[in-house]
């Protein structure tokens, strides 16, 4: 292992002495570091030093040295999350609570660029120090909401701030909004893809409360929400997930939502129809609910293309089938899966395409050691030949996508964190990968070539070549709390292994050909960038 560094650790006493000598020692030196929060972004690892109200960004040079960048995040850290593509890190802060002086900070949502040259982006001021943050999968919007962790004297649980991340802060950005409530409170948020609604293409934010839905047009959030109650008889129903479609291919008027209800065999379909003449409403579309019966409580929903046209797929574990519902007629057909699968996802493109343009779905279970390929091109007309089941040694707790060029692969993670399977969606094979340590964490490199596995708190690290499934085992000097594959500034890749528990050390390895010989270790990285 290379020990060319630990330079920051060596400088620490000097820095301390200098600061003490000046008599203006930064209060941060009197603050115990932590808790730390770390993330892997596209071009750097990020360590949020919350007590110092900063983000330490760790881009990697071609020689595996770090070029740390310290960025202020504001005081009163609440939460942070990266966008799905890793290009940005969103940091929510409460500011100073209470605000006593003009110099005190107010709540805000900060954006940090996550590339190889990290930089502060916009800071969106917020009205209230609340802690819930949900980010659009496309990275265009975020919503800030009151979370159970918020303990202000008086709170409005239905108060939201919708942030358009593509626009600079302005009087109307963020957009404050209080959901119309019939007693419900937000539980989760779903950002839809672009839907072709009567007034044109737009995106929606669907708020799942504990009893109904709120639908917000992200193109005009100030218009408020449309409340869709999910029960007309007063009985309690709780939405737990939704599926979204913009309608069958080639159509522009079939936008629809499907709402999964907790322990309920009924699914509420919501057509987003034009407003009828004379209808006095605030929005240019009219959610029109309908009910379809799935035969049993579904565990997962998705709109899928089948040989019979577009269907709503509902996975019904109690019936061990996938129920395919025609949204227009409510007619159902079932695909017997032979097992109680709980989750499914559409994998058509990764699987090389489906029959007659129909989808291919992958179903899995946390209880049963198998996965099923469902060929939806034969699901309605001939359901008996639609399913191919692969037996595994363990059930599946998590499925990790693999980027191109190996998008045909999925990395399956068993609940025990010791069994992994590399699933080839084209060959329909499942190659087992075993770890000697329970709770092993896996991640997939951004270039899709490798997977990384490590045991939190341990020193074992492995690179798995997704082409030949060869594991390269490495043992670091320090325990690993996080391992992040990032792009280097020279275009290569690096793995940044972070040790939060010891001296906040970092080990940087080459992401393609990792070796302990070329690795660079840093200790006490938090100290190095203090000014």
């Amino acid at each position: 292992m290379s020990t060319t560094s630990r330079p920051l650790l060596a400088l620490a006493p000097v820095l301390g002495a200098l600061l003490a000598g000046c008599g203006t020692r930064d209060p941060v030196w009197d603050t115990t570091p932590g808790p730390l929060v770390d993330f892997g972004l596209v071009g750097s690892a990020a360590i949020l030093d919350t007590s110092a109200s900063r983000a330490l960004m760790l881009p990697v040079e071609g020689d595996l040295t770090l070029s740390p960048v310290s960025l202020p995040i504001g005081r009163g850290f609440a939460t942070a999350a990266p966008t799905m593509d890793g290009s940005k890190l969103l940091v929510l802060t409460h500011g100073d609570v209470p605000v006593r002086t003009p110099a005190d900070q107010t709540p805000g949502l900060g954006v940090i660029g996550g590339g190889t040259s990290p930089a502060l982006g916009a800071l969106y001021p917020l009205a209230s120090p609340i802690s819930g943050l949900s980010i659009d999968p496309e990275g265009a919007f975020a919503v800030v909401y009151s979370s159970p962790a918020d303990v202000s004297f008086v709170e409005n649980p239905n108060e939201l701030s919708i942030v358009d991340l593509g626009r600079a802060p302005a009087a109307d950005n963020p957009t404050p909004l209080t959901l119309r409530s019939f007693g419900g409170q937000p539980q989760s948020f779903v950002f839809t893809p672009t839907l072709h609604l009567p007034a044109g293409p737009t995106r929606l934010l669907v708020v799942l409360t504990d009893q109904d839905l709120g639908i917000i047009d992200l193109g005009a959030p100030a218009e408020g929400d449309i409340t869709v109650e999910l029960s007309s008889s007063g009985e309690s129903v709780t939405p737990t997930a939704i599926a979204v479609t913009d309608g069958p291919a080639g159509t522009t008027d079939g936008a629809e939502l499907a709402v999964l209800l907790e322990d309920d065999p009924n699914i509420v379909l919501i057509d987003l129809l034009p407003v009828l003449p004379g209808q006095m409403v605030a929005h240019s579309f009219s959610p029109t609910p309908n009910i379809v019966f799935a035969g049993g409580p579904p565990s997962a929903l998705a709109f899928v293309d089948t040989d019979g046209g577009q269907r709503l797929g509902a996975l019904v574990p109690s019936q061990q089938n996938l129920t395919l519902l025609d949204p227009a007629t409510g007619i159902s057909s079932t695909v017997d899966l032979g097992g109680a699968f709980e989750s499914f996802t559409v994998v058509t493109a990764a699987a090389g395409g489906g029959t007659n343009g129909a989808d291919v779905a992958l179903a899995w279970s946390t209880q049963s050691p198998e996965v099923a390929f469902i060929d939806l091109g034969g699901a309605v007309g001939t359901p008996y030949r639609a399913v191919q089941v692969l037996e595994l040694e363990q059930p599946v707790a998590q499925i990790l996508d693999v980027p191109a060029p190996n998008e045909r692969l999925k990395l399956l993670v068993a609940p025990d964190g010791q069994s992994f399977f590399v699933l080839d969606l084209v060959a329909r094979t499942a190659s087992p990968i075993a770890s000697s340590t329970a709770g092993t964490v896996a991640s997939v490199a951004g270039d899709g070539q490798f997977a990384w596995l490590f045991s939190p708190g341990g020193t074992d690290l492995a690179q798995l070549d997704l082409q030949n499934l060869h594991p390269l085992n490495l043992t670091l000097d320090d325990p690993i709390s996080g391992a992040f594959d990032v792009a280097r500034r020279d275009g290569g890749r690096a793995l940044v292994a972070v040790d939060e528990d010891a001296d906040f050390g970092v080990t940087v390895l080459d992401g393609t050909n990792p070796s302990l010989e070329s690795a660079v270790e840093y200790s006490a990285v938090l100290l190095g960038s203090l000014r």
Partner: protein, 584 residues
């Protein structure tokens, strides 16, 4: 001789609709024929029993909007049924056809072995007006009305337990009336360009059936005892409520008629209503206020006091025509003074109906396979002035088109595939036969009689594996019929007023097969659509060029079919539609 099995078609106020009871036991009330105990084979014939919709008063009396829409239809007797006007309770009005009794020489043994007749009636089905379909939800106290053009659902609060709906003819608005069985009142729902109004009127005696005058001025709520399981003999169900539906001055009056009415209807002039009961015909004068002004007994030829013959009342309310099982005659009773005129027939008639124009009463004499055409009112002055038309095949039932003098004759007392057609209004009527490919069970003509939907049963007799079948018969064009196999028992048939489309809803909870046949005529194109649950009733919303089929589902379910495109759209959970809040 046991009566011929009888069934009833039904038709909505504007679209023709027929509800068949197969497979919907919870929605049907069944009572065996008194003269046929047991011995019913487990065939469609056995399942598709006569509905409580009853033989209608026929064309002679514009008994209701339904009757007006359906024109005359066949009526037959099961030994206990008196022909009554269309039934609005379950299906928005109906017109019925059925058959009864009699046998052809040489077929006696088979006819004698016929299964018993049964009356059945469906509940909870929607009704259609100009462009709306109305559906009551007894649990929530609301009535959903669906614009069949836009499929937009709206709800209106009714009373407590809104259950029995009827469409009310109106020249400008869409109007329906619902009987609230728990709050003992009725809600008149009027949808106009300015919105919907709901007016509540007391109905102290409650009821389970509506009769509505053809002009929509009057409605009568009454109780059909045949819809009540094991009614106590002391319960006469003699209370009726007469509702004046004049907009802005609605009112109701509670009246008493004879013991256990089986049918209520109106004359075309709107001056009187008639309740056919076991005590005779109770005449209601529709004045201010309405009152029961007399009762005309019909019992002179009754076999026993508990029996009710088949009765048809002429459109002008002048006469009641009475057919009694086992008697070789038709009695024509003056409703002015009760004077009876007996019209002798060659053998006991098995069915009785009045033509659409009210000028001809049609009695079917199965023993001689003849149709007796009685001129109205000439038959009173000259009981021998009838015309007998002999068919080439066995006939025991008649269904008359609602806007034509053409009648369709057949028998379902034994497997017989022949449909006989007679123009009852012709100067020299003749019978022509159409050979179908399976035994006839029921006939549903288009209003102009140009096309006919024929239901078949007893398919095992021809070696078929299908549960049932239907034939589309382009009568006017004289083209060969098209037969369609059904994989579930038919439950409801609807024929569009223009005759261009027909719906056949079929289903069986036992097999889980639910389907809808959408037929185009005269092209005979057929589209078979699966349904999500058991059909209750099919209908046509002429103003929207859509058909519909209501289905059983706790939150309500209805499938609309666009006749122009063939596209089907199912709406489920009507009340959720009002749970969307988007205040401007």
């Amino acid at each position: 001789m046991p009566g011929e099995r009888r069934w009833h078609g039904s038709c909505d106020v504007r679209p023709e609709t027929v509800h068949l009871p197969g497979g919907v036991p919870s929605f049907l009330m069944t009572s065996p024929r008194r003269n046929d105990a047991g011995a019913r084979p487990p065939s469609l014939r056995g399942r598709l029993r006569r509905r409580g919709l009853l033989p209608l008063l026929g064309a002679g009396l514009a008994v209701s909007a339904a009757a007006a829409a359906c024109g005359s239809s066949s009526a037959n007797d099961d030994g206990s049924g008196i022909p009554v006007p269309g039934d609005y309770a379950g299906n928005g009005g109906s017109c019925e056809g059925n058959t009864s009794g009699g046998s052809l020489a040489g077929f006696d043994a088979g006819v004698d072995a016929l299964p018993p007749e049964t009356d059945t009636t469906s509940y909870g089905a929607p009704v259609a007006t100009g462009k709306y379909v109305w559906i009551a939800n007894p649990s929530s106290g609301r009535v959903a009305y669906i614009d069949a053009t836009t499929l937009q659902i709206k709800l209106v609060e009714a009373g407590d337990g809104p259950t029995y709906l009827a469409a009310v003819p109106d020249p400008t608005d869409d109007v329906a009336i619902v009987l609230n069985v728990l709050s003992l009142d009725a809600t008149v729902l009027r949808a106009s360009a300015s919105g919907l109004t709901a007016t509540t009127l007391p109905v102290p005696g409650s009821g389970n059936t509506w009769a509505v005058s053809a002009d929509g001025h009057w409605a009568i709520a009454w109780t059909d005892a045949r819809r009540i399981t094991n009614p106590d003999p002391v319960e006469g169900y003699q209370d009726i409520a007469v509702l004046d539906l004049t907009p802005g001055s609605e009112s109701s009056v509670d009246l008493t008629v004879g013991y256990r009415p089986v049918g209520v209807g109106f004359d075309t002039a709107g001056g009187h209503a008639y309740a056919v009961t076991q005590d005779g015909v109770s005449v209601v004068t529709l004045g201010q206020p309405p009152a029961v002004t007399k009762n005309i007994p019909l019992t002179s030829n009754l076999v026993d006091a508990g029996a009710t013959p088949q009765v048809a009342i002429t459109q002008d309310g002048a006469y009641a025509l009475v057919r009694t099982d086992g008697l070789s005659s038709i009695d024509v009773v003056s409703l002015a003074d009760g004077t009876p005129t007996t019209v002798p027939l060659p053998a006991p008639p098995t069915d009785l109906a009045l033509s659409a124009d009210g000028k001809t009463a049609v009695a079917v004499v199965r023993d001689t396979s003849q149709a007796a055409l009685l001129p109205i009112p000439g038959i009173v002055a000259d009981p021998s002035s009838l015309t007998l038309v002999t068919a080439d095949a066995l006939i025991g039932s008649v269904t008359l088109a609602s806007q034509s003098s053409i009648g369709f004759f057949y028998t379902n007392a034994l497997p017989d595939p022949v449909l006989t057609v007679i123009d009852t209004g012709a100067a020299m009527p003749v019978a022509s036969s159409i050979l179908l490919r399976a035994p006839v069970f029921g006939v549903f003509p288009s209003p102009d009689a140009g096309n006919v939907v024929v239901l078949h049963d007893a398919l095992t007799s021809i070696g078929s594996q299908f549960v049932a079948a239907a034939s589309l018969v382009p009568v006017a064009l004289g083209l060969p019929p098209k037969i369609i196999g059904l994989t579930a028992p038919p439950i409801s048939v609807a024929v569009a007023p223009d005759g261009a489309h027909a719906l056949i809803a079929a289903g069986d909870d036992g097999t889980g097969i639910y389907e809808l046949v959408v037929a185009s005529m005269p092209s005979l194109d057929v589209q078979i659509l699966p349904l999500a649950s058991l059909p209750i009733a099919a209908g046509v919303v002429a103003g929207a060029n859509r058909g519909y089929v209501a289905q059983t589902y706790p939150d309500g379910r209805i499938t609309f079919i666009d006749f122009a495109t063939g596209e089907a759209r199912t709406l489920t959970g009507f009340e959720l539609a009002t749970e969307v809040v988007d205040d401007p």
